[in-house]
Symmetry: C2
Subunit: 196 residues, 2 copies
DNA sequence: GCAATTATTGACCGTGCGGTCCACCAAGCG
DNA sequence: CGCTTGGTGGACCGCACGGTCAATAATTGC
């Protein structure tokens, strides 16, 4: 055998992901990636391929962990409607308001690259569809539990909730302060997910 | 006096704006700008300053005309609540689905640049505040006309409607087809702006 | 029609980028 | 121990980018 890797692959991917998250794709140079990863250019290329492939790996890491959080969030509340409220409010409940500051990596990437990069567009669609399906399931449960009217089909409602959530993320990126953002989130939650 | 300009400044700004709109800031090269404007590099610099200043001018042009459309839209409907419905549905009613395809230039710019460019962030806040104020005025009118409940203050409601609209724009950028997007827009409009 | 002034053009420049390559080095095996 | 294998790091490359500049053209005032 030969010399083994001297770094933790997942740790590197997470560092790279944070860099792309903070600065975006184009604004992140290879030098930045070398700095945050602690690796040399050659090692980075040998292990992960070029900048684009590395980005896709980081993006996938993000969507995987976000998807995990989402499942957790939807499963944890005793009543499905409360889980949906938490889903809408997620951008402002994130500790430290991190989501409000740097937004959602998937959304950032969609805005920056989806029109020109088919891989990113595909990942965006994949993530969007998976999220819609998960949320729709909870909407159905909330309807079964009698907490949500049956006048809208679950998938439609899920898309509306997702749009509302992403709209909040956008408002956060305009620098809106967290209290105002929270109030807006509540307004949306109240209107879209009424008490009965 | 000396030699006069041989081009229409506004026409150039609009061409430049469309280029930034289609491709984003970083992905637009000076060569692209020279091509779409029909001017030489020197003329572009002499007339508008560097790429960043040119971008800010194009962005301002966009927000000015969008603001004009918004005023028109809000003023044209006989009942304020219908104007608000049109506001939420605007991203899908845009002829040709242009808004759904390339989104909103201000939103695109916010996502790409707001974290690193104070000028863009300032413009985003300015636009967001102006839009909120205009929409809030219509919300107040709709309440006066008895079409909207008085349980939420107009500014809060305006922010919620703006978030919903921008959420729709985001969904459009993930490549969601226009029919599905329209259905989602309707769901949001129905829930946020009920008939009575 | 000449002088003064400003727009126009495109060749040119320095820089920083993404990407490559190779000399060096650590680990396992006989 | 030395040989083989593959990881490592940084010097290096070509290129495309944003930006500059000097020669030239067009217009007006006198």
């Amino acid at each position: 055998m030969a010399r083994p890797r001297q770094f933790d692959e997942e740790q590197v991917i997470r560092a790279v992901r944070d860099q792309f998250w903070d600065a975006g794709y184009a604004a992140t140079s290879l030098e930045d990636l070398v700095r945050v990863s602690g690796l040399g250019k050659g090692s980075l290329y040998g292990a992960f391929g070029d900048k684009h492939r590395l980005f896709l790996k980081a993006l996938r890491e993000y969507t995987d962990t976000s998807g995990g959080y989402l499942r957790e969030m939807l499963a944890s509340a005793p009543r499905a409607v409360d889980a949906l409220r938490a889903f809408v409010m997620a951008p402002v409940n994130d500790p430290g308001g991190a989501a409000a500051r740097r937004g959602c990596l998937m959304a950032n990437s969609t805005y920056e690259l989806a029109t020109s990069d088919p891989d990113v567009l595909a990942e965006a669609r994949r993530t969007y569809e998976a999220t819609t399906a998960l949320v729709a399931e909870s909407v159905g449960r909330a309807q079964d539990e009698g907490d949500l009217p049956r006048d809208v089909n679950p998938v439609e409602m899920a898309r509306a909730l997702l749009a509302a959530q992403q709209g909040l993320v956008f408002m956060g990126r305009t620098g809106l302060d967290i209290d105002t953002l929270t109030a807006t989130a509540r307004t949306l939650a109240v209107k879209l997910l009424p008490d009965a």
